[in-house]
Symmetry: C2
Subunit: 197 residues, 2 copies
């Protein structure tokens, strides 16, 4: 049995980000990442399926969102349950201490089509998980899917703003505002004429 | 200069689908695909970047959707412009003659995580293109993004139904209905309580 390595997955993710920034994603191997983290290659593969996965592996996001949706007050409307979930992300995942990591992670992903692809798929799966968590609360299937899509859009907008250089607000505050904006925009999709305005 | 090959990209896509179904995606090479289509490997790479792209390369969908949005009546609300675009897909892309191809394509994609990833990324890009086309009509940015997301969800639902074995309806009819359902669901995201109902 391999020995237990404290905090291995975060060490590997940090090492990978450093190397991707230094020499590029294409020029970094799994062995390079493991070495930089001071861990064995086999440890890498216990935590991540492949090189791309090192920036996506934890699924802490999905776990936190779905748990928070399940824990939202029974009388909460679907979008209110989503808002509770975004609050939870701000408390437990997108914390101020985490920001330096996510800013660098984002820059690496934006530079690599391969990673963008994985990010897109993760986004689709995250949205599907949120929709399932809402449906488990008794929300009708299609309403759950739409609420999940609106929540995903708010999350994306909030994540972008939170990663902005000058941002000093907490993630939860930004996310609540983004969700409110998305909600208003959804009402306007039926009524805002185009060029005629 | 290479000679012109009539309808090469569709021939390559058909050949790829056949081979993926026969021997699996992993066991099919670009050379196999080109040979089955009776074309040179170099012809393949003039049309597609890699093996995955052969099922996604045309972007006929994006082209048709954005053109139709631009051509929608000036007074059309954002979701009405999206509805016009879905109508156009039914007329020009998802035609009855095309259905046998899309049904097989869908089965191959569902069997391959690699292809699902590409499909997810294409979906994200398609939605972004639709949002840009709406913004070009003067729709405010966030309203355009929300309308595009709702349209993408309606498209996904309609595409699934249209590919169902027993479906005899036209794509445009299914898509209009799906968009109406999505619209109603969007209104319900603020009001449908969960377990308490």
């Amino acid at each position: 049995m391999a020995r237990w390595e404290p905090n291995a997955s975060q060490r590997l993710a940090d090492a990978a980000l450093e190397l991707f920034a230094e020499r590029g994603y294409e020029n970094t191997t799994v062995l390079d990442i493991a070495r930089r983290a001071g861990l064995a290659k086999s440890t890498f593969f216990r935590h991540f399926r492949d090189k791309r996965e090192v920036l996506f592996g934890e699924d802490a996001l999905t776990e936190r969102l779905t748990t928070a949706i399940a824990a939202a007050p029974a009388e909460a409307a679907p979008l209110e349950a989503v808002a509770c979930a975004l609050d939870a992300l701000g408390r437990d995942v997108f914390t101020p201490a985490r920001r330096a990591f996510t800013v660098r992670r984002r820059a690496v992903i934006e530079a690599n089509p391969d990673l963008q692809e994985r990010e897109a798929l993760k986004g689709v799966r995250l949205t599907a998980s949120v929709a399932r968590a809402l449906a488990d609360r008794g929300v009708p299937g299609l309403v759950a899917r739409v609420a999940a899509e609106l929540g995903a859009l708010a999350l994306e907008i909030a994540y972008g703003r939170w990663n902005d250089q000058d941002c000093t607000e907490e993630f939860g505050v930004i996310a609540r505002r983004a969700l409110g904006d998305v909600q208003k925009a959804a009402s306007a999709t039926r009524g805002h004429p185009g060029r005629s305005r």
